[in-house]
């Protein structure tokens, strides 16, 4: 946008003779080492021959520095560019004024954005035009020195440091006790980190369903009868009284009678009236498994495409999830509402180190 390599100028100089560049380095008066030369015109004639006028005196003038031959065409071109840059600043000024007015009138996001962009962009384009056409674009070379200090500098530093160090070391008891005190303090101030959160106890392994006999309810708290769910449909349910719990949201799925459901051994009686319930929290990274393809009995997690087979204990059949969705044992209470007879078959949600302990 703004910059392009000034290779032509440098190339010219180098093509003539490599020396001017060489000199441009060494006689650059602006290195701190040769501060005295500053008041003189720093530029050697050789550099001016490279097609670039001296930088210093030209800063304040309005002339285009490129018009080396005093060429009328170039001067007129310079004037045109100057007018263009000035126009940019004027446009920016106007946009800022309108921006203020728009805000004053109640604001409008799109207009604000565009006007702000025009106002900022006007200044930006104006400055870039100014810089490209009316500021020195001569390339100068600056000497670069190796980063490392000289051996003498290192030696004298080492000397001074060791002198101080030996003074410090001579008080051995102080070094030892101060070191011990700092270490103890360092450990002590780590303890408050413990306040940031509770010990990860049973919470990750249990849900509110562990009470047993809790009704499963919809998000609004209403209990569910088996017939409330269409065959092939599902609803999201929670433990009664815990509808905001993040680890116990459950998919209550009504199987179609035609579907060949294969219960996990030992969970034959966890199903009630073709209703089967699985944790809605993906065993991968805990997204709600919200997509159910009833005809094939597959649950799909929209986050990372883990797929679970509802007909076979919600075992993972595709994607990054490595464990089946935990199943919830279902039953009916004496009023005919669906209840959970106990907690999930395993901890819900993503895995962790001691999940099986």
């Amino acid at each position: 946008m703004t910059d392009d390599p000034r290779t032509p100028a440098a190339g010219e100089a180098a093509a003539d003779d490599p020396r001017p560049q060489e000199r441009a380095v060494t006689d650059d008066p602006r290195t701190p080492s040769s501060g005295e030369a500053v008041t003189d015109d720093p530029r050697p004639p050789g550099e001016a021959a490279g097609g670039v006028p001296p930088a210093g005196p030209a800063y304040g003038s309005n002339e285009a520095p490129r018009a080396t031959a005093g060429d009328d065409v170039l001067t007129r071109h310079g004037e045109r560019v100057e007018m263009r840059a000035a126009a940019c600043f004027v446009v920016s000024f106007l946009a800022a004024a309108v921006l203020a007015a728009v805000y004053w009138q109640g604001g409008q996001p799109q207009a604000e954005g565009v006007l702000l962009a025009v106002s900022l962009g006007g200044i930006g384009v104006g400055i870039v035009l100014w810089a490209k056409h009316f500021m020195p674009d001569d390339e100068v070379a600056e000497e670069r020195h190796p980063m490392a200090s000289t051996e003498e500098e290192v030696a004298s530093f080492t000397n001074d440091f060791q002198a101080g160090e030996s003074t410090l070391r001579s008080r051995r008891i102080l070094v030892a006790t101060a070191g011990g005190a700092c270490a103890a303090l360092g450990v002590a101030i780590l303890f408050p980190i413990r306040s940031l959160g509770p010990r990860p106890g049973r919470g990750l392994k249990e849900t509110a369903f562990k009470a047993g006999g809790l009704r499963v309810v919809r998000e609004d708290g209403s209990p569910v009868r088996p017939d409330d769910v269409e065959p092939g449909g599902f609803i999201t349910v929670f433990p009664d009284g815990h509808t905001d719990s993040a680890d116990a949201s459950t998919l209550l799925i009504r199987l179609r009678p035609s579907q060949d459901f294969q219960p996990v051994p030992g969970r034959q009686d966890w199903v009630v009236d073709d209703l089967v319930a699985y944790s809605k929290i993906c065993t991968h990274v805990g997204c709600p498994v919200g997509l159910y393809q009833a005809e094939v009995g597959l649950l799909l997690c929209p986050c990372h495409q883990s797929t679970f087979d509802v007909l076979e204990g919600a075992r993972p059949v595709f994607g990054p999830a490595a464990r089946a969705l935990p199943q919830l044992p279902l039953g009916l209470d004496d009023q005919g509402y669906v209840i959970a007879t106990g907690d999930f078959s395993s901890p819900t949600g993503p895995g962790f180190w001691d999940r099986d302990r």
Partner: protein, 479 residues
């Protein structure tokens, strides 16, 4: 001031400058700064873009903090966005809605902030690639490479934490994934997750904590590291591409004052202008469409911001494997979420040292490589970008599936193979291409000769002494 002090200046600015100088003696230093030479190349301004994005982020971010309320207290929405009136939500989400609909200039500021974050990360990534492919990380610039990589991590985290604050459906799902990845760390994962979130997900404190981290800790760290990054840049002087008159022991370019400073200022205004335009015209993160976070709900096509895409894609591409032994478990998300990310950044930090060790090139380099001159490095870089590119596309597997009417399983299987096969193929092709191109240039590639030549020259020039004594007389002769 003594009565014989310098006569007072007329202009106020001069008077102020004089006042400062008489107290700090800053003129000499300031003059050196004015005459600092910066080499010019379009690729050098990408890092600059990142700097300007950061400035815009701070400016807009400060404005946003005046209105945002990082609280997880539940409230009923009663603001001006009709579809959500009466919906229960957190105070954080409500204040973000108010900021968008009821605070004048709030939405445009929020959107500029978000666009600036996207561009901030983009400039860092491209800047990193520029530094890598041109070998600008070599001695003496390893420290700045490390600072730069740290800045990348901080920027990634702050972007993620920033959009997670709003507590909308999308960002809540993102936080849940962050929680699960933290949980997956062996041995300490459950403790870390509990300490970070203040308990089990969703955690009562996470929004407040992320807020402090997002607006104070990380920005302060970024500002300090940026200052160091630029300070070291000034101290070491910018690297430059080879060219006429450009050597290892000089720096050729424009002076800081006035041209370079003006161009830099112009670029700042232009960057801000683009961000303002994007923020005004192109909607970004419309949280009112996502709705407030409900841990039992999720929407399809949940994608993070682009810079987290590679991680999200890696989570998707990873096959369903995990390790269970002796009653303990290393869950699946650990491998893409922690191991891959950890490996990525370890290699990134270690690269300058690895390369120096392999090539045996410990010399100072101020002249940059063209990528073709270093076929192995360029090929490895291209392969790495390909790897993360495939991961990134994997993050859009569901969108690709629905857009092109394909099976999402087929797409993910394809990506599982591509992520392993494509990087070596691309790497090999790039290697051949570099060889071919440099053979046409007639430049020997990666030969020890080139490498050895440079320190030799340096030593020769250093020979007469520290430099000043020899070179000082020359201006008089030249002028």
């Amino acid at each position: 001031m003594s009565p014989k002090g310098p006569r007072p200046e007329r202009l106020l600015t001069h008077r102020i400058a004089r006042w400062v100088d008489t107290r700090l003696g800053a003129a000499k230093f300031a003059r050196t700064a004015l005459n600092k030479v910066f080499p010019d190349h379009w690729s050098f301004m990408i890092g600059e873009l990142g700097l300007y994005c950061f400035v815009v982020l701070v400016l807009t971010g400060v404005y946003l903090t005046f209105f945002f309320d990082a609280s997880t207290n539940k409230v009923l929405y009663d603001g001006s966005y009709e579809p959500l009136v009466g919906v229960e939500m957190t105070q954080a989400y409500r204040s973000a809605l108010e900021l968008s609909f009821d605070v004048r200039a709030g939405l445009v500021m929020r959107q500029i902030h978000h666009w600036a974050a996207l561009l901030f990360l983009a400039s860092i990534a491209v800047h990193l690639a520029r530094v890598f492919f041109t070998g600008a990380f070599r001695r003496p610039r390893e420290i700045n490479w490390i600072i730069g990589c740290t800045l990348l991590i901080l920027a990634l985290l702050n972007g993620l934490f920033g959009y997670s604050l709003l507590d909308d459906q999308l960002s809540g799902t993102g936080l849940r994934i962050v929680y699960s990845i933290t949980l997956s760390i062996p041995v300490v994962g459950t403790w870390l997750a509990s300490l970070l979130f203040g308990g089990e997900f969703p955690g009562p404190d996470i929004i407040e904590r992320l807020y402090v981290i997002h607006i104070l800790l990380i920005p302060a760290a970024i500002a300090v590291l940026l200052a160091g990054h630029l300070g070291i840049l000034v101290r070491q002087k910018h690297s430059q591409f080879p060219g006429p008159g450009r050597r290892e022991d000089n720096v050729v370019g424009e002076r800081m004052w006035p041209t370079y400073a003006a161009k830099a200022l112009g670029l700042f205004f232009l960057t801000s202008a683009v961000l303002a335009f994007l923020g005004g015209v192109f909607q970004i993160n419309p949280i009112w469409i996502y709705g407030p976070f409900d841990p039992a709900q999720v929407s399809a096509a949940s994608q993070p911001d682009w810079y987290m895409g590679w991680l999200d894609g890696a989570l998707r591409i990873m096959p369903g494997w995990e390790i269970r032994a002796f009653g303990f478990e290393i869950p699946n998300p650990f491998f893409p979420g922690i191991l891959l990310a950890g490996l990525t950044f370890t290699l990134l930090f270690a690269w300058p040292f690895l390369e120096a060790r392999v090539t045996g090139d410990y010399a100072e380099h101020n002249l940059l490589d063209r990528p073709r001159q270093r076929p192995v490095r360029t090929a490895l870089g291209a392969a790495t970008i390909t790897f993360y590119g495939v991961c990134f596309l994997g993050g859009a597997a569901d969108v690709l599936a629905s857009t092109f009417g394909l099976s999402v399983n087929a797409i993910l299987w394809t990506f599982r193979f591509l992520v392993l096969l494509l990087p070596p193929i691309v790497g090999w092709m790039v290697y051949r291409l570099c060889k071919e191109l440099s053979a046409r240039d007639g430049v020997p590639t990666g030969s020890r000769v080139t490498v050895r030549e440079i320190p030799g020259r340096l030593r020769r020039r250093r020979g007469p002494g520290p430099g000043e004594g020899v070179e000082a007389p020359e201006p008089a002769a030249g002028g």
